[in-house]
């Protein structure tokens, strides 16, 4: 009896964090919100895409950068445009965030993708409102100002 209790307690303690942390406070993409959800097939048959999509992407990236070929069929921008999900407010969710199209499979297969250190994770055009990275550092510059004013005021005394 006592042993069983501890077993269940152990399991409960082990499993509880999983329940709590799953999708907590994260934007949920609405199922069927991406363009791809309403289509029957990707740019190539699904089985081929599942296994070979990176081959297409590697091929296309060289064609685009070196030869200036800008066809949409195998372009990463087109993948993102079609597969990106949207939340309740209609805002696109980064495609490499947890539970989103790219990340789901790559977590499963333990493949780390570095596309998105450079490429946009949501369709983002010129002129769209964007947050400046410097906005993130505002609190720092405020702190520095505080320190300098403090320093100067002390020195004057």
């Amino acid at each position: 009896m006592g042993q069983n209790f501890y077993r269940y307690l152990f399991l409960f303690i082990i499993l509880t964090p999983l329940n709590i942390s799953s999708h907590n406070n994260e934007p949920h993409s609405i199922k069927g919100s991406s363009k791809a959800d309403s289509m029957t097939q990707c740019v190539e048959p699904t089985e081929i895409m599942q296994k070979e999509h990176f081959v297409f992407l590697y091929h296309q990236r060289d064609n685009t950068v070196i030869d200036g070929i800008r066809t949409k069929q195998h372009s990463l921008a087109n993948c993102i445009d079609c597969h990106v999900g949207y939340d309740e407010k209609g805002v696109a969710i980064p495609i490499n965030s947890e539970g989103q199209f790219c990340q789901t499979c790559h977590v499963q297969t333990a493949v780390n993708i570095d596309c998105f250190s450079c490429h946009a994770t949501v369709p983002r055009d010129k002129g769209m409102k964007r947050i400046k990275a410097s906005d993130n550092n505002n609190h720092l510059s405020d702190k520095i100002k505080d320190i300098t004013t403090y320093y100067h005021s002390n020195n004057h005394e």
Binding site: D67, I69, C118, A133
Partner: protein
């Protein structure tokens, strides 16, 4: 019936005006033959830029701002390391003491020193003359930045998050002006900086295809003498300057 009513004079006037409409006017309008999206760039097109320094206005930074807007080059408010693909310079001629302001950008050399020194071949010259960085193979060694006599290249030091779909860029890579390659490949013949300069009404920057005799750059080259900066280096830049 009507034809019989035509006088000799009318006939001549009408046929001459018809000839004008059919043959002459289409030739006067400069054609922009957009490359199909699935076609490789070729050396038949030679992108080039001419900058008339006399028309470039002191204090105007429209081209710089347009470039930032076009390529999403937001910075970290650290001017020493932030990326700049185009910047304004103030130059003084030692002999004449003439002071000019000019925009400085990648000069798109035909003999680019950046490509000579690149250990991975990431710095390369596209068939149509655009010198750019293949960021997939760039290892961020910055040899090209040292080799460039015009200080035209920048290095991304920090993680970026808000890149544009049309302008991928990221930490650890060198980057520079690419003559708005994305725009051009999609059929435009105007860079963002030229567009901004025209909107401001200065028309100092002219861009176009050297092999098209009616392109804006050829017109401006024909109207005013121009020169390359540091022509002693024999780099054959595609960006030329008039008025210095």
């Amino acid at each position: 019936m009507n034809k019989n009513n035509l006088t000799r004079r009318d006939f001549l006037i009408k046929s001459a005006s018809l000839m004008t409409v059919v043959y002459i006017i289409p030739d006067l309008v400069s054609k922009t033959e957009a490359k199909p999206l699935d076609e490789k760039v070729s050396s038949k097109t030679k992108w080039a830029m001419n900058i008339d320094v006399d028309k470039c206005t002191k204090g105007c930074t429209a081209c710089v701002e347009a470039c930032i807007e076009e390529n999403g080059l937001y910075g970290m408010d650290r001017p020493e390391t932030d990326s700049q693909w185009i910047r304004k310079l103030t130059l003084k001629d030692i002999k004449t003491e003439k002071i000019v302001e000019l925009p400085m950008l990648c000069q798109h050399c035909e003999n680019p020193p950046c490509c000579d020194v690149c250990p991975t071949g990431a710095s390369f010259r596209r068939e149509d003359g655009i010198v750019m960085v293949n960021q997939h193979t760039c290892i961020g060694c910055r040899y090209c930045m040292m080799a460039c006599p015009f200080k035209a290249r920048s290095f991304v030091h920090e993680n970026l998050t808000e890149q544009l779909t049309s302008a991928p860029r990221g930490k650890g890579c060198v980057e520079s002006c690419n003559f708005c390659a994305n725009r051009i490949d999609h059929g435009s013949d105007m860079t963002a900086c030229e567009e901004a300069c025209q909107k401001e009404g200065h028309k100092a920057i002219t861009f176009g295809d050297l092999s098209n005799p009616k392109s804006r750059v050829n017109e401006s080259l024909a109207s005013k003498p121009s020169r390359r900066l540091r022509s002693d280096l024999k780099l054959k830049q595609r960006v030329t300057y008039s008025g210095i």
